[in-house]
């Protein structure tokens, strides 16, 4: 497609783009960038279907000649993490058991707090919100050691409860931010009318605000599932060996192996770990972008 044709089909373009060379340059840049972004995914996929011999013989970009799914099976069910050799399925189950309750609880907590901060504004609301945001911006390392001590003191360190509640605590800032802004944009008359009719705090939340916030809940689910699934730091510190999430197991499988490395198994394991957030990303499309914009950027 030449640029001349494009210009004719879009005669009202926002700016003049008469230069054919410029247009070609634009496409060249875009294509090269796309290749740069796609190349690792391509390499991952082709490597995971190769045999070890083929990896040694052929080069990294070549398509698999002796197509095999053995690396995938090994990655899932028998790869060694340095502690045991049960594969990534253990980590997968752990990640699911951590992610599901943590996502539900953190969204619920964020919705309730966002609702009270935006519509009820009890004394010190702004201070509370400011303190909370500090949690979103400061490195977790600052909070970690005392938290370890507290959980250890009540004998809950390294348990499922530990890792789930820690995710809720650290998820609270962004979730609150999301819902606070959303509820602040709801017409205040709605809230006032409900108040006049005698509805209380919880009644308004459950009957009016929660049903209204479906779009935000979707955004929040996307953000939290990918965020918690991809977490590594909190998982290593708080989950305890028996509940290590998939990211931690993956890192152990790849980085603690002694002797020859099974790159095909490593790559299959990497794809398996990335699968959940990737599926969410490709399915949710613009919702994902909206989540980033709402959660990470805006106040």
């Amino acid at each position: 497609m030449t640029s001349a044709v494009i210009n004719e089909t879009h005669p009202r373009g926002p700016r003049p783009s008469r230069l054919t060379a410029g247009r070609a340059g634009v496409y060249a840049f875009v294509v090269v960038s796309c290749l740069f972004f796609l190349m690792p995914l391509y390499i991952m996929v082709v490597t995971s279907f190769k045999t070890q011999d083929e990896i040694r013989m052929s080069q990294i970009f070549a398509l698999p000649r002796n197509f095999t799914v053995a690396p995938w099976i090994e990655a899932w069910s028998s790869a060694c993490t340095g502690v045991s050799c049960d594969g990534l399925k253990v980590g997968f189950v752990n990640s699911v058991t951590i992610t599901v309750p943590a996502v539900i609880l953190s969204i619920l907590a964020g919705a309730i707090l966002g609702y009270s901060l935006s519509l009820w504004r009890t004394k010190g609301s702004n201070l509370l919100f400011g303190l909370l945001l500090a949690g979103a911006f400061l490195p977790y390392q600052i909070f970690i050691y005392p938290l370890v001590r507290v959980y250890a003191y009540v004998s809950l360190y390294g348990t499922l409860f530990n890792i789930i509640t820690v995710h809720v605590i650290f998820g609270l800032p962004v979730m609150t931010l999301l819902f606070r802004n959303y509820f602040a944009s709801v017409p205040i008359e709605l809230f006032k009318a409900a108040r006049v009719d005698g509805a209380g705090f919880w009644r308004i939340f459950i009957s009016i605000m929660l049903p209204l916030s479906t779009p935000m809940v979707i955004v929040a689910v996307i953000l939290q599932v990918t965020g918690i699934w991809n977490d590594f730091l909190l998982g290593t510190v708080f989950a305890g060996q028996t509940h290590w999430p998939m990211t931690v197991q993956l890192n152990n499988i790849v980085n603690t192996t002694q002797g020859t490395r099974a790159y095909n198994v490593d790559m299959a394991a990497t794809i398996l770990t990335a699968a959940v957030p990737l599926i969410i990303y490709f399915v949710s499309g613009r919702w994902f972008v909206r989540g980033i914009a709402a959660g990470a950027v805006k106040g």
Partner: protein
């Protein structure tokens, strides 16, 4: 929203547990960390107050200075590259190219993945014996070398490359949103005046996008300070200490070297840095009265 409000017990009773949680989990732990850094704690916490001794020890620790040096290089390169790539990419996407949605999807997908995943993929690609270097050698160019990962003075660039791959999609998305928010009238005006397109971008559009650029820089620098997972997965801090970073220094001193005093002192330095540099931005972004609600 200035209105008189009847006191609601529901609201009050709900907010109290949140106050307790936030004061405990954020403020309390933060104070605790700072407190430990002022004591003689080593392997076990102690309550003997020693003033700034731990800080003196920290700044005299070579490993810490190397980590700080590394993070500055990493941050500067990562941010520059991401801003340049993000802006160029956004301009291209904004100029009515075909398959815009596909390109956006491709650019942003690395951001959906874990840093651990990113680190491991690039570790494989940049492995000199099996990765790109070998591929190019097999192709006949045996003089080619791509050994960043195993060379001390280049390993930090490997980290930057993986970081840029992961983060530039986000910056592209931000920049694109910023571009689309600009008044389209300037293009008509520029056309009337016969100003070349690139000139409009550099002299008019870029200055107008200052808020977007500031947001992008703040977001990136916060994630740079937190950089840990990527380092663990890609290089493990090595070769030697060539890719060690403060966040990893802290984790190692907490949990492996168990030198709590030094680790908390390092935490406090990070805390002070973030507070000094980001509080002003933070205040303007969140508490200044705004023109309207965005979500």
């Amino acid at each position: 929203m200035a209105r008189k409000q009847k006191r609601s017990w529901g609201a009050l009773l709900t907010i109290i547990p949140f106050w307790v949680l936030i004061l405990g989990a954020y403020v309390g732990t933060m104070i605790w960390t700072v407190f430990i850094s002022l004591t003689s704690s080593r392997m076990l916490p102690s309550t003997t107050f020693v003033g700034l001794t731990q800080y003196r020890r920290l700044f005299a620790t070579d490993r810490w200075n190397i980590a700080v040096h590394n993070i500055v290089i990493y941050g500067a390169l990562l941010m520059t590259l991401c801003l340049v790539i993000g802006f160029l990419m956004a301009v291209m996407l904004d100029s009515r190219i075909r398959a815009e949605d596909t390109v956006r999807t491709i650019v942003l997908y690395p951001y959906a993945m874990s840093f651990i995943v990113t680190g491991l993929i690039w570790q494989w690609i940049m492995n000199p014996t099996v990765g790109i270097e070998k591929a190019v050698h097999d192709f006949g160019r045996t003089g080619f070398s791509f050994d960043w990962l195993v060379t001390s003075d280049k390993a930090i660039y490997a980290l930057v490359l993986a970081g840029v791959w992961q983060a530039s999609g986000l910056i592209t998305a931000l920049m694109l949103a910023g571009l689309r928010g600009i008044d389209q009238e300037i293009w008509k005006a520029a056309r009337v005046d016969g100003i070349p397109t690139w000139r409009v971008y550099v002299s008019i559009v870029l200055p107008m996008m200052r808020p977007t650029v500031v947001t992008a820089v703040v977001l990136m620098s916060l994630s740079v300070i937190k950089a840990y997972d990527l380092v663990v997965a890609l290089t493990g801090g090595g070769p030697g200490l060539s890719t060690d970073v403060p966040a990893k220094f802290i984790m190692d001193f907490f949990f492996e070297r168990t030198n709590i005093g030094l680790a908390t002192a390092a935490c406090t330095v990070l805390l002070a840095f973030v507070l000094v540099f980001f509080t002003p931005w933070f205040y303007f972004e969140y508490f200044r009265e705004k023109k309207g609600n965005r979500s």
